[in-house]
């Protein structure tokens, strides 16, 4: 019996030693592998790969992958579905990188995360010469770049549009959708019984999008062209004031502070909202008979600004290759396949997600199916990316914090912007 107890004790000790050893082993590997990352090592290796992506809503992605698999029986691709939530997607990708796991080969990466993933050497540099980048929308290409090197191929893009009630504007004799905020407010004063404007003002990524749009549309900048924060300016103040005063005066309904995309779409479809800022996805939905009270009663236009057309914020997803994936050559081919004109076209038709190839916007056949394409292209050519910074998560949190406290009256516009400038200064390393 005595030996049993000694053995158990030994087993416990042995196990804990093994555990501690594993801990040390784990952290050591952090340091040694990094050397290979970064400056565009060759993308080699062929074989099976995976695509880590938030689930695609159309179901078309699986078809695209099936087609690829038929053509490349020895380099099969498998979809790894990540949670629906965007933050959770990033978290899973970061965890994958933290453990240097080879589970993910191709990452379907949100445009805001390129810098972070590139700077941490989690994704491999892509050879620019193997993509015909001139065919893509320039703004979309920029979102895949970090320090002028390409890290992610533009795949899907997105931009805010102004949705407006065409029927009401027509009734009031207003011919054109507003180009400036003042015009929009004028239009609202002519049409009674409606809430004027809404966007997405809940404290989440959407608020950063809306805040950046307001600032950019007033001629301001969150981060200037050299990458320095520049948000404590009169222009930025005018932009933020547009939203703050909108809430104060009732131009923006007060429940809009809890709006995300879907809540604002619902408010619009209930029929008592005249204008609102939204992504293109809502176009088809709001025109679907059923709950929507605005079928065939609305149209889209570029966002208005302070002194002319506004500057929408760019959204979308790019395709990147995980640094820790074995079959990088296959992964590169797979990305080329997904961003080819044929695939993007098929995907637009199936999923109505905005493509990154400029030519598709001018295709008459597609324009017939998606009447908003010309407006969207105009918007996209004018669109501004969110700050392309390594610590994007911290930056967007700081922006949300500042914008939310100004919108809810917790701080003045001046104070919020001064605080934000200060905060961004600490977060953005030049």
């Amino acid at each position: 019996m005595a030996s049993v107890s000694r053995m158990t004790r030994f087993a416990v000790i042995a196990a804990s030693v093994a555990v501690v050893a594993a801990a040390c082993g784990g952290s050591k590997s952090d340091d040694k592998k990094d050397a290979s990352g970064g400056s565009g090592g060759a993308l080699t290796g062929r074989g099976p790969i995976t695509l880590a992506t938030g689930k695609d809503t159309s179901g078309n992605l699986q078809n695209l992958v099936n087609t690829w698999n038929q053509q490349h029986p020895k380099e099969q691709a498998r979809i790894i579905e990540l949670p629906e939530d965007a933050d959770a997607q990033r978290q899973q990708m970061v965890q994958n990188a933290q453990t240097k796991s080879n589970a993910y080969s191709v990452l379907n990466l949100d445009v805001v995360n390129t810098a972070e993933f590139a700077a941490n050497r989690w994704i491999a540099q892509l050879p620019k010469d193997q993509f015909d980048l001139s065919k893509f929308l320039p703004a979309a290409v920029k979102t895949g770049e970090y320090r002028n090197n390409l890290y992610a191929a533009p795949w899907k893009t997105d931009s805010g549009l102004l949705y407006y009630r065409k029927d009401q504007l027509d009734k009031a004799g207003i011919k054109e959708p507003p180009k400036t905020w003042a015009e929009m407010q004028q239009d609202c004063s002519k049409i009674k019984g409606f809430n004027c404007y809404a966007g997405q003002f809940e404290k989440y990524e959407g608020l950063t999008v809306n805040f950046s749009e307001a600032v950019n549309s007033a001629g301001g900048q969150v981060v200037d062209d050299s990458g320095k924060p520049n948000v404590n300016t009169p222009q930025a103040k005018q932009g933020l004031d547009f939203l703050v005063n909108g809430f104060k005066s009732g131009m923006i309904p007060k429940e809009a502070i809890s709006f995300k995309e879907e809540e604002s779409r619902r408010a619009f479809e209930k029929g008592n909202l005249l204008f609102y800022r939204q992504w293109p996805y809502a176009y088809a939905l709001s025109n679907k008979k059923g709950d929507s009270k605005v079928v065939d009663k609305f149209a889209v236009a570029p966002l208005p600004g302070l002194n002319g057309p506004g500057a929408p914020t760019l959204g979308g997803h790019n395709l990147a290759i995980s640094q820790f994936a074995p079959n990088k050559a296959t992964a590169l081919d797979f990305i080329k396949y997904l961003t080819s004109e044929q695939t993007e076209r098929a995907n637009l038709i199936a999923s109505s997600e905005a493509p990154t190839l400029a030519s598709l916007y001018d295709d008459p056949e597609l324009q017939k199916k998606f009447p908003y394409l010309p407006t969207l292209k105009a918007s996209l050519l004018n669109a501004k990316p969110r700050p392309q910074v390594v610590r994007y998560n911290d930056v967007t949190t700081a922006i949300e914090e500042a914008a939310y406290s100004a919108l809810t009256g917790k701080s003045t516009t001046d104070q919020a912007l001064a605080d934000l400038q200060n905060k961004l200064g600490q977060l953005i390393t030049p």
Partner: protein, 338 residues
Amino acid sequence: MTTTTAEPGTVAPVKQKKKSDVQGSGRLAAILLSPTFLVLALVVGYPLIDALRESLYQKNQGLDANGFVVSGDKFVGLKNYTDILTGANSHAFWNAFYNTTFFTVVGVIIETILGVAMALIMHQAFRGRGFVRASILVPWAIPTAVSALLWRWVFQADGVANAIIGHQILWTTEGFHAKVAVLIADTWKTAPFVGLLVLAGLQLIPAEVYEAAKVDGAGTWYTFRKITLPLIKPVLLVAVLFRLLDVLRFFDLPFVLIGAHKDSVNTLSMLAYDEANNLRYGPAAAYATILFVYVALVAYAFVKLLGADIIGDARARKKSTPSKRAKKGSRTIREATA
């Protein structure tokens, strides 16, 4: 312990086991305990030690000339801790500390009262009790992720909560109402947990105790306070203790229901999560460690103040009805071994 007052005719507890048993018991105990310790060492012990180590380091956040993050950690001693407690962002910590404590105190009190009430109801014999039992257990059986979504739906601007009260409260915005929403959703979900544990405890009380009390003419409230409560105390304390541990580490409900970065509901776990999410593993580990220490202190105080009979040595315990049970017991044994 006050249980001795419970029942007339209680005999002092029967004393202990034979001393000669101790040697063998120690060995047996080691064998019986080792699987638990093995699992806990692997899954919790290792990450905990790892976190302690990590909390003394900071990851480099600087970029090199080519824009790459400079790799490697540097040892910073207790800087992560002092930054959290007294640094520029200490208000975030103290705010989260307050929220965590608030949710714990208010939430656990409500859950305990509701849970005991539920257990007493489930314990009664009446028609339709199967239905009531089932309904009480429903909230707890729903996965947290799903119930958080459900409550978010209920509490949205044009949701059913506002429709019922006929007044628009923007529940998910900053303010006290956000705390209320979280508390409603949390107590709804977890009171059944307390209820279930207490119900099991109630099963241990022999019916004779109540009969005796009835003969003595004790009222319902008196019976509850002087008999039921002391007898379910050990189980109730375990239930409350583990609720305390859970609420102090509160994370997913406020996160899904109200959202990240809202001062009104930010908890210590959410701060730890946020730091890790932003790749600041050192501060994240420091937050986790501080939370760990806080939870440990609360649990220690709780057990010291109230829980002598769950942790205290078996010898010290006093039972209200051992003699009766012993009599019944020997009868049972004769049956069982016959």
